[in-house]
């Protein structure tokens, strides 16, 4: 039985990499989501076109293809990425494209009267966005962002295929060393599920906190 503790350590190391990837990917996704989401609402055609192209491209091709492209094709045009960099880049850009639509939808869901109130108070476009629209839109975005984060967590499993030692990779290592399949795969399925539960719980408590000051503001 002693050997299992060693293998468990291996799997926990993998869990750390998975968590690290999820966090870094989420940060990049969040940045891209706001850039592209606001870009789609821009007054300028160039920004709108760029944002739309980005969103359609990354939603249209699968994460797996993007990851392989980043890892295998970019080196040929002179950009070498480590597996971790390629993973974060592909995950962040892919999920960011989905989340950008969430940002756009949430901002558009804010009623006209809020924009009119901004004009009435003589706020500039940016001021109105920053102080009036975004604080309300953020609350609308949060639940879907939570789902996107869980999608990102699930997508991290793919990076094991470009030899990044995440949970799935370590489970394969354990499988090939012990010949046992049931234990490693069941273990990592449970770990993934627990991580997903943590994300959805975290997002829900964040939502409660942010809703606190907005009582009565939203109908």
């Amino acid at each position: 039985m002693t050997q299992w503790s060693g293998y468990l350590g291996l799997i926990l190391q993998g869990a750390l990499i998975t968590i690290e990837l999820t966090l870094m990917g989420s940060v990049l996704a969040l940045i891209m989501a706001f850039l592209a989401g606001l870009g789609r609402l821009s007054r300028f055609f160039v920004f709108r076109a760029l944002a739309t192209a980005y969103i359609e491209f990354f939603r249209g091709t699968s994460i797996f293809v993007q990851l392989f492209w980043a890892y295998f094709v970019l080196p040929f045009i002179g950009i070498s990425l480590t597996p971790l960099q390629a993973g974060v880049l592909a995950l962040g850009l892919n999920v960011g494209a989905y989340a950008a639509e969430v940002v756009r939808g949430a901002i558009q869901s804010i009623g006209r009267e809020q924009y009119e109130a901004c004009t009435a108070l003589n706020l500039g476009r940016w001021q109105g966005m920053r102080h009036v629209i975004l604080p309300q839109a953020l609350l609308v975005m949060l639940p879907t962002f939570g789902n996107n984060a869980i999608e990102l967590l699930k997508a991290t499993a793919v990076v094991s295929l470009i030899s990044l030692t995440d949970l799935t990779f370590q489970a394969q290592v354990v499988r090939s060393q012990t010949g046992n399949t049931l234990v490693p795969f069941t273990t990592i399925l449970i770990i993934y599920f627990v991580l997903a539960l943590v994300i959805s719980w975290g997002v829900r408590s964040l939502e409660r906190r942010m809703a606190r000051g907005l009582d009565g503001v939203r109908v």
Partner: protein
């Protein structure tokens, strides 16, 4: 590295072989997901608490864990208990189960959207449970779901490259094998990406049409 059209022409037949398997897997997976989703949705409405709770938890679990790990589970663990599946069958089962948990939510929403009066009218006409479902509820519930279902089938299509991890010879796997043979990654990987992009751009048009024909997609 230069883009080489001759090489593209050379590898095209191999890639088209892969495209066929990709499409086959998507079609079979969609059929399975449609059936599994309906079964889950019906089981969750079961008056038997034990059935609805356990199916609900199982669906939640499958939705919270990565498809890749589920594919490994089906492909590596089931043979240990004597169920030996060909890769494509294992892949289709994985896709169908995973996306079945998503389509279950679409069915649930669709069924909940049928007005109460329809149930009461069915009862008043002395229809039994089976007749109520097949003649009253389903014919009204299914058309509004079609765009949302199609959306998930397109998402599934984009996930099929994962099947290459369990040795299904679909498009991604063919591309990888030609890339490894000639050590040229640029063309095969880019072609795979372009293929998925083109199909998904077409599918956007198809979705618009379905939405127009069968009503609004749910968000």
């Amino acid at each position: 590295m230069e883009w080489d059209w001759n090489f593209v022409r050379e590898i095209m037949p191999t890639l088209i072989q892969g495209v066929k398997i990709t499409i086959l897997a998507t079609l079979l997976g969609s059929v399975l997901a449609a059936i599994v989703g309906l079964a889950i949705a019906l089981a969750r409405r079961s008056p038997n608490r034990a059935v609805s709770r356990s199916v609900g938890f199982l669906a939640e679990f499958i939705r919270g864990t990565p498809l890749l790990v589920q594919l490994y589970f089906i492909f590596y663990v089931l043979p240990d208990i004597g169920i030996l599946l060909p890769p494509l069958v294992a892949g289709v089962i994985g896709l169908g189960l995973h996306y079945g948990t998503y389509t279950a939510e679409v069915y649930r929403a669709g069924i909940d959207n049928v007005p109460r009066g329809q149930w009461e009218a069915a009862k008043a006409c002395n229809l039994n449970a089976r007749q109520t479902w097949t003649h009253i509820i389903m014919p009204q519930a299914i058309p509004p779901m079609i765009p949302a279902l199609a959306n998930y089938f397109i998402a599934m299509f984009k996930e099929t490259p994962l099947l290459s991890a369990i040795t299904v010879l679909e498009l991604m796997n063919q591309a990888k094998s030609v890339a490894n043979t000639y050590y040229r990654y640029v063309e095969p990987m880019t072609l795979v990406g372009a293929f998925f992009l083109v199909i998904s751009l077409f599918s956007v048009v198809l979705l618009r049409w379905l939405e127009h024909r069968y009503g609004k997609i749910e968000r």
